[in-house]
């Protein structure tokens, strides 16, 4: 572990810990409106650490809820993309030949599409719900994973233990999922840390446009959107969630980059 990893990992853990513990300590909750205290600037008294929003709701609790939602969406979306990417890449790499060529050609085709617009289309067509957001974000982030897993699988399938499994009559599906997939763990874990910030980006983008997480639930993207509307009088409503989102993304990217450099010398850059 190098210093960059330690620092960015530490900041991340800190933010996440405060996000889950902070609201428990606060006397306020994320729904409670207080029309006597609209748009109060941040203060220590009365535990209004981040001030209040235009409905008199406590911004600290709402920001922490936003971090929780953002992190949860990102993790679930990354798991979805992990499952699709690993299955697709491993099958393509293991079968090889013409199947591999066709499957990878399909990935190349998808790469060229502006996916985010399809996600927006999906959000328009179906009622916006949490689950759909997870799945949609996961569904657009699996392409890189599939490529990397395929590359690894190509070399794994020549190894003796795979050959041994094949000789003893293990089925193809079982070889792919029980013998090859577990050996991909190292590479996959590195790329998952790089997928998480991408998922956060997509989720907050959708929420910012009003197409993602809906009120009274919130996420950092939705909070930034609310802050934009109030920025002339209440700049903290924009700056605090914006800074939190930027810090989280920056730390994940630093951590992922450092991890790739440490474990995966073949990576680009």
């Amino acid at each position: 572990m190098n210093r960059g990893m330690k620092v960015s990992g530490g900041i991340l853990l800190g933010i996440i810990a405060v996000a889950f513990i902070g609201p428990l300590l606060s006397p306020h909750d994320y729904l409670q409106t207080d029309f006597g205290k609209l748009l109060q600037s941040p203060a220590v008294s009365d535990f209004r650490l981040f001030g209040t929003d235009d409905l008199g709701r406590d911004l600290f609790v709402r920001c922490m809820l936003g971090v929780q939602v953002t992190i949860l969406v990102a993790i679930v979306a990354s798991i979805v993309s992990l499952v699709i990417g690993v299955a697709y890449g491993a099958i393509s790499g293991y079968l090889g030949g013409r199947v591999d060529a066709v499957m990878m050609r399909f990935v190349d085709t998808l790469y060229a599409l502006p996916f985010i617009f399809f996600v927006i289309l999906l959000m328009v067509a179906f009622e916006r719900n949490f689950l759909l957001i997870f799945v949609a974000i996961g569904a657009i982030n699996w392409l890189d994973m599939a490529r990397i897993v395929r590359g690894q699988t190509l070399s794994l399938r020549e190894r003796e233990f795979v050959e041994a499994a094949r000789l003893t009559g293990v089925s193809t599906a079982r070889i792919v999922f029980r013998h090859i997939a577990p050996n991909l763990f190292g590479v996959v874990i590195v790329y998952v840390t790089l997928t998480i910030p991408q998922a956060i980006l997509v989720e907050s983008f959708l929420s910012f446009l009003g197409l993602g997480i809906q009120e009274p639930q919130t996420s950092l993207g939705a909070l930034v959107d609310a802050g934009v509307n109030q920025m002339e009088g209440a700049s903290w409503m924009l700056l605090i969630p914006a800074a939190l989102l930027a810090a989280i993304l920056l730390c994940f990217n630093f951590f992922g980059d450092a991890m790739r450099d440490a474990f995966d010398a073949r990576g680009e850059k």
């Binding site: 927006i120 289309l121 067509a125 179906f126 910030p197 990217n253």
Partner: protein, 307 residues
């Protein structure tokens, strides 16, 4: 070269068809019809409406009709902007977005390549570290965070630049949107340029040039820049897609009447034909621009064409 171009153009057709089928199916798989949230309609009116918008035909027939109209450039009427066709709306809104995106792309390439080259030449100095630190920040921080913070600092607090679009004329209203849109791409391009420039500067032909007594600036300009641009060129495809995505946010924040704003409005209003039309338009644009990038790649690096 011409054969190569034609081959690539034909290769783009299945991709576009896939886009159209996917987008069409997604919109038509939506539960409920486009007129569901209006007041309860008498059955006759409803039938007349559905007939007018060709919604009473079977799905495959609707698709074939849509496709044949699309080929002729007709994307049907908008469900919400009743007096306009989708084609008209796109035609009116796109020039603004094109101007915005074009300026952002130009700025990103010029600044990104310059910053990346400087960082590569001053490798491992404070200058390099500063540029790369900014680049990491630019990659991580999304457009919808950069744009409002820029507005807050430069327009609301300092009052140097206009914050909005309407009521302002000339170039000044372009400054903030273009910077916000370009910054993430500046960051990516600077990182790519730095990495490939370092590679190129370490190669033999550069050593030869140096041995002949050429100065650093001449080496960079005449020898290193062109090969170092290849990774940047292949990033142009994703960059175009990212600028399109970013323009949606930037147009929303600054109130610019471009295609992105229509897209978001259409999405929030459930204007199915408009959203469908814009997605197909965007996808076509991205696919075609990718094609142009690929062809340029062949021009700069002749080895590609022989594959």
């Amino acid at each position: 070269m011409l054969r190569y171009a034609l081959k690539r153009l034909l290769g783009a057709i299945p991709t576009l068809l896939l886009v159209i089928v996917l987008a069409f199916l997604m919109v038509h798989a939506a539960p409920g019809g486009p007129f569901d949230d209006e007041r309860v309609l008498p059955p006759e009116t409803r039938q007349a409406l559905e007939a007018a918008y060709n919604l009473d035909a079977p799905l495959h027939q609707q698709f074939l009709d849509y496709l044949s109209n699309l080929v002729r450039g007709d994307m049907g009427p908008s469900y919400r902007y009743r007096d306009h066709t989708v084609g008209e709306l796109i035609g009116n809104a796109f020039p603004v977005s094109l101007k915005l995106g074009g300026m952002a792309m130009l700025l990103a390439i010029v600044v990104g390549v310059t910053a990346g080259t400087v960082a590569a030449l001053r490798r491992n100095t404070w200058l390099d570290r500063t540029v790369m630190g900014f680049a990491m920040t630019g990659i991580s921080v999304p457009v919808f965070v950069i744009a409002p913070v820029l507005v807050l600092l430069l327009a609301v607090k300092m009052q140097w630049l206009p914050a909005g679009w309407s009521g302002n004329e000339g170039l000044s209203r372009f400054v903030l949107p273009v910077i916000a849109l370009a910054l993430p791409q500046v960051a990516y391009i600077a990182r790519l340029t730095r990495a490939s420039m370092i590679d190129v500067l370490a190669s033999d032909f550069i050593r030869t040039a140096r041995a002949q007594g050429l100065g650093t600036s001449a080496i960079v300009r005449y020898h290193a820049l062109k090969p170092a641009m290849l990774p940047v060129l292949s990033y142009m495809g994703p960059a175009i897609a990212a600028i399109l995505t970013g323009s949606v946010v930037v147009e929303e924040i600054f109130g610019i009447p471009g295609l992105g704003q229509f897209f978001v409005r259409g999405a929030l209003n459930r204007d199915y034909t408009l959203v469908l039309g814009i997605v197909i338009f965007y996808a076509t644009l991205v696919v075609l621009l990718n094609l142009v990038v690929d062809l340029l790649y062949g021009v700069i690096d002749p080895r590609i064409r022989r594959r």
